[in-house]
């Protein structure tokens, strides 16, 4: 049609292109923080962490523990030799304050003692802050179990069958909470966080500690939170509120 203003169209086209180019990195960054493509390695631009609100945690609830058992193929038994990656700790204040309850799992420290003591380097910290055990290299010496200040590690005492395909685990190696790394890498949240939200307590929050806009960073900026055993200066990725 002859009335078309080609110059205007061109400006609009360039404008759209410029806007796209300007916005695209932002969109990509958003995607990086939320979920990365499978071929891309984890990066330290992200630091995964959790915030546990002990005020919201109910004493008679162990939904997080049950969910973890189910997600990771743990037996659910509670004998001294059974693996438990997360447990509910009931707390009685010795100074006479109110009783409290909170889940304890691997704290994913920035300075993990378990990583320092592992002779083969099987216990390691991933770039995005998750502390894991490479079971291909673990020789089962249990030095990391001795070193962990939070008693987070379990040793597998008997042959394991019926493993979940996303969570390989076997006899003779040490293991602990993986922050559901197989879910995180596929843009989901840890099973314990999901289960706690489903009960309505919403006591555990998961997010990127390196992103100031994330809900977890905002809550940490707003409320008083603490690490467990802060005197050890391990800078854990799991923080607690209400303790």
């Amino acid at each position: 049609m002859s009335g078309i203003d080609h110059a205007r169209r061109q400006i609009l086209a360039w404008g759209a292109a410029m806007a796209g180019v300007t916005l695209a990195p932002g969109v990509t960054l958003f995607q990086l923080a939320q979920g990365r493509p499978p071929a891309e390695p984890a990066s330290k631009a992200v630091r995964w962490g959790m915030l546990v609100d002990a005020n919201r945690c109910a004493s008679d609830c162990d939904a997080c523990v049950t969910a973890c058992d189910k997600e990771n193929g743990l037996s659910g038994a509670r004998t001294p030799t059974s693996a438990q990656w997360i447990r509910k700790v009931e707390l009685k204040d010795l100074r006479g304050g109110p009783a409290k309850s909170a889940p304890v799992m691997c704290q994913h420290c920035a300075e993990p003692p378990c990583v320092d003591v592992c002779p083969t380097g099987a216990s390691f910290k991933r770039a995005d802050g998750i502390v894991l055990v490479d079971r291909h290299t673990c020789i089962g010496c249990r030095y990391c179990v001795m070193a962990c200040p939070y008693q987070a590690r379990s040793f597998v005492h008997e042959p394991v069958t019926d493993q979940k395909p996303e969570v390989p685990r076997g006899k003779g190696c040490v293991e602990s909470c993986t922050l559901c790394v197989h879910r995180i890498d596929r843009d989901r949240i840890p099973a314990c966080v999901e289960a706690c939200a489903a009960t309505g307590h919403k006591a555990i929050l998961f997010g990127n500690l390196n992103d100031p806009a994330s809900e977890i960073s905002q809550r940490i900026a707003q409320f008083s939170t603490t690490a467990l055993r802060p005197d050890l200066k391990l800078n854990p990725g799991v923080r607690y509120q209400g303790l």
Binding site: R36, P38, A39, E40, P41, A42, F124, R126, A127, D128, L132, D134, R135, H136, P159, V160, D162, Q163, K164, P165, E166, P168, R169, G170, K171, C173, V181, D185, R186
Partner: protein
């Protein structure tokens, strides 16, 4: 402990006795070598005959299509591929499916049992038994595809060769 001192010289005898001992020793060693060679060669010669007593592995592949790599390449290098990929997955969080163990299991699981181990005809176990190489993977890894994934089909994201 009595003073044995010179351990080598306690058997006594003269130069001739020593020479005799040396000859016997040499004959013994040669005999061992001969037995070893024959023991290794004879079954190989026998295998070329009509009725081979060497059990061959059962390679039963129920999945349609081709493997992600060429068969000869896989025979020689599948362990290296798996090792490299596992380090990338565990340490860096790379979760591509092309060379993942989960994908191998998904395609190669037996049609009947849905597993790659558990019987002498299962895909992984059959060859590993033949080659007498310990199969350590499935002490920790599940030997069947994840729930919700059909057996004998590649995982999502796998590019056919």
């Amino acid at each position: 402990m009595a003073d044995r001192g010179n351990f080598g010289g306690t058997f006594g005898g003269g130069a001739r006795a020593r020479a005799r001992r040396r000859a016997t020793g040499l004959a013994f060693v040669l005999g061992c070598v001969l037995c070893g060679v024959l023991g290794g060669a004879l079954p190989a010669i026998a295998a070329e005959g009509p009725a081979s007593r060497v059990p061959k592995p059962v390679v039963a592949i129920s999945a349609p299509g081709q493997c992600v790599e060429d068969t000869q390449f896989m025979l020689r290098n599948h362990m290296e591929i798996l090792k490299h990929h596992r380090d990338q997955t565990v340490h860096q969080g790379v979760r591509t499916t092309q060379h993942s163990l989960a994908n191998c299991v998904a395609c190669h699981a037996s049609k009947a049992t849905g597993r790659v181990t558990g019987s002498k005809d299962a895909f992984c176990e059959s060859c590993h038994r033949f080659a007498a190489v310990t199969l350590d993977c499935f002490e920790c890894h599940a030997d069947h595809p994840p729930a919700g994934i059909a057996t004998n089909a590649a995982l999502p994201g796998v590019v056919p060769r």
